[in-house]
Symmetry: C2
């Protein structure tokens, strides 16, 4: 390892190939990329030399000369939840098909900057039932921010385009990216001039979910895992729920969107005398935590308290009771983002650049036995496979 060798995978350069084949490097290049005419015999010789020398073009050399990286990036908060992993699967698959590599960057946790916390609902201030986990001193440019900024810059420097999740990255960093004219797709982020945005439907799904719960006869509700930022997915879910339920639903903050914080918040919430009849959780993991908390408190789900989630992650189906939730097409989201980004890189304009994917309400048993619904066959093989097919079949372009 002398460190002076970019193509560690070979060390062979186009010059050696050229010499061996008895041609110029230009001809080697043309033969390999199929640009420009090359005589059959010549091509043969070149290819043989390439084979014998195990030549692989240096990526850095190609990038520099071509003026592109043939790589796309993606920034997400973390992969520990199944949600981001699923989106990443869809993204990687399509990006790879498009002949580009995928460079990832995890920001380790959502950006819970103080200024965006503490939403108020109709003037009523919300109390956090979880500890406040704000990372940054108010006013100060949090060091976390600057670290993220540098990492994102670094990433931006090695890709032709970028996908960024919701509130993983401070808005001014987004602005910087837009200003640099880097093709940019934002997932679950408020619309923003200069970037394509993409998300799953939230508001009307939330309305449907809330309506369904009303049909069960519940009259008091909590929304567990209240939104951290306006315009993010959870905020929209809250809006939809709140629209239908009005003051009957009480927003409750969690520290994060994890099983642990769902558990902790639910423990406090359900331990009180006037606990709600139904707990609408901002995502499945929070809901799983809530179910654990209920169990811990000796409460039966759904008889004593109903619980719903969001996303339909794998564990949602295996939990007992199985979780009523809203399925969003996670892989599809990633796949769409990849294609949109590709179009942007190819020079597409930003017209009509805000898309929303449909979701599906999945009724299982955690919300109670619905009087009007037929009993759902949880083990239906159809359902077993639906999620996989979903990504491929629905929403054809």
């Amino acid at each position: 390892m002398d460190g002076r060798d970019v193509s560690a995978a070979s060390g062979v350069t186009i010059y050696e190939v050229a010499r061996r084949a008895g041609v110029s490097i230009a001809t080697v290049s043309r033969a390999l990329r199929g640009t420009g005419p090359v005589a059959g015999a010549t091509r043969e010789r070149v290819l043989r030399a390439v084979e014998e020398l195990r030549f692989t073009p240096s990526r850095a050399g190609v990038s520099l000369a071509e003026g592109r990286h043939a790589a796309n990036g993606i920034v997400f908060p973390n992969l520990s939840g199944p949600y981001f992993a699923e989106v990443l699967i869809g993204y990687e698959e399509v990006t790879s098909e498009l002949g580009r590599s995928v460079v990832i960057l995890s920001t380790k946790g959502r950006d819970l900057s103080t200024k965006e916390r503490g939403l108020s609902v109709k003037g009523r201030r919300l109390s956090a039932h979880g500890p406040d986990l704000s990372l940054n001193e108010p006013g100060l440019p949090g060091q976390g921010h600057d670290a993220i900024r540098d990492l994102v810059r670094e990433l931006a420097g090695r890709v032709d385009g970028l996908v960024v999740f919701g509130s993983t990255v401070p808005d001014d960093v987004i602005d910087e990216l837009v200003a640099s004219r880097l093709p940019l797709v934002l997932i679950s982020h408020a619309e923003r001039p200069g970037a394509v945005t993409l998300r799953s439907e939230n508001v009307s799904s939330a309305r449907a979910l809330a309506t369904h719960l009303l049909g069960h006869g519940y009259r008091t509700f909590a929304f567990l895992g209240a939104p951290y930022a306006t315009g993010d997915d959870v905020d929209l879910r809250w809006q939809g729920v709140h629209e239908v339920l009005g003051d009957a639903v009480q927003p409750v903050l969690t520290a994060e969107y994890t099983v642990e914080s769902g558990y902790e918040a639910a423990l406090r919430l359900l331990g009180t005398r006037d606990r709600p009849e139904a707990v609408i959780c901002s995502d499945d993991e929070v809901a799983l935590g809530a179910i654990l908390a209920a169990e811990e408190l000796g409460l039966s789900v759904p008889d004593d308290v109903a619980v719903t989630g969001w996303d339909d992650i794998m564990a949602a189906r295996h939990a007992r009771p199985a979780l009523t939730t809203v399925r969003q097409p996670m892989r599809e989201l990633g796949a769409r983002a990849a294609r949109a980004l590709d179009e942007l890189i190819a020079g597409a304009s930003l017209e009509d650049s805000h898309r929303t994917l449909d979701t599906e309400l999945i009724i299982r048993s955690s919300c109670g036995q619905h009087p009007h619904e037929p009993h759902l066959q949880e083990l239906n093989p159809q359902e077993l496979n639906r999620q996989a097919r979903h990504a491929e079949e629905s929403h054809p372009r």
Copy 2:
């Protein structure tokens, strides 16, 4: 987008910075990287120019000149299971800390090449309970192989080192990588000269698990999700189990290591008259499928049949009954791989290059109430947090 601009993130080159600061590009470079002496005032001017122009060095230019990519790759079969996602988290985190980017490549499914299928046990040929999913025609170089080969080469060309999971990549491709002297870390792969290998302990954990089940009084067993390749994790688990249980355990193939194929195989297995008393599954997802199948058949777990998993993924804790399993330090595995790779890149030798991480037997309720064990507190907050801490605290280097 004129396509002729590598640093899409700025378009500004070091020349413009130099002109603006009134110095040469050499000085700009030195000022920015801190190599070589630069007068304080000069540095100031350079930094100001950089700031004003929003200059970011072109990654391709730097890579070409430096002779390195400052990026590491990782190849995994897929991300849909939590296992690989968790390993990736650990890998990304450490690699990122080391100042390198992470380029990912998913091969979409394990390499189930025919030649490696159909293991025999003591001369007895195994029958597959699932459909044979072999991708390649026997003898023919499967197209899947060549596609993977190209993708891996491409990846290898843009990184300084590579981590590859078990049997995601054909062995001859591995050989090619080794021959090219690309720093290489193999996770859960048989030892191989020229590469570091890393895995979680399997054999003795499997022995412990089998022994525990014997303690429950079970006498007939199935091993669900039999190994596809010799030397992979599942093969070693099978070995350990088989060592302890001998002919009392029957190996049963699944099509894949997924909930669906676990479900299907278990449906067949448990539907028979002489079903085993305990089903030892090769991983948690197969086990979750087995539990679903048992439920479908009206069998109680663990009363009618015991089920165990492996990995301790999130859903294992939330399943009912909660899954007895073997926890392996997935993030730690990724983190270790990242550090080992870094050392290799830095020029470390390949001495002592085969490491095994410890696992932990997690007894929950799916294996039955053990006569000798105290009742396990499933909701213990300690357990809730253990996994997270695990990755950080255990196995300090």
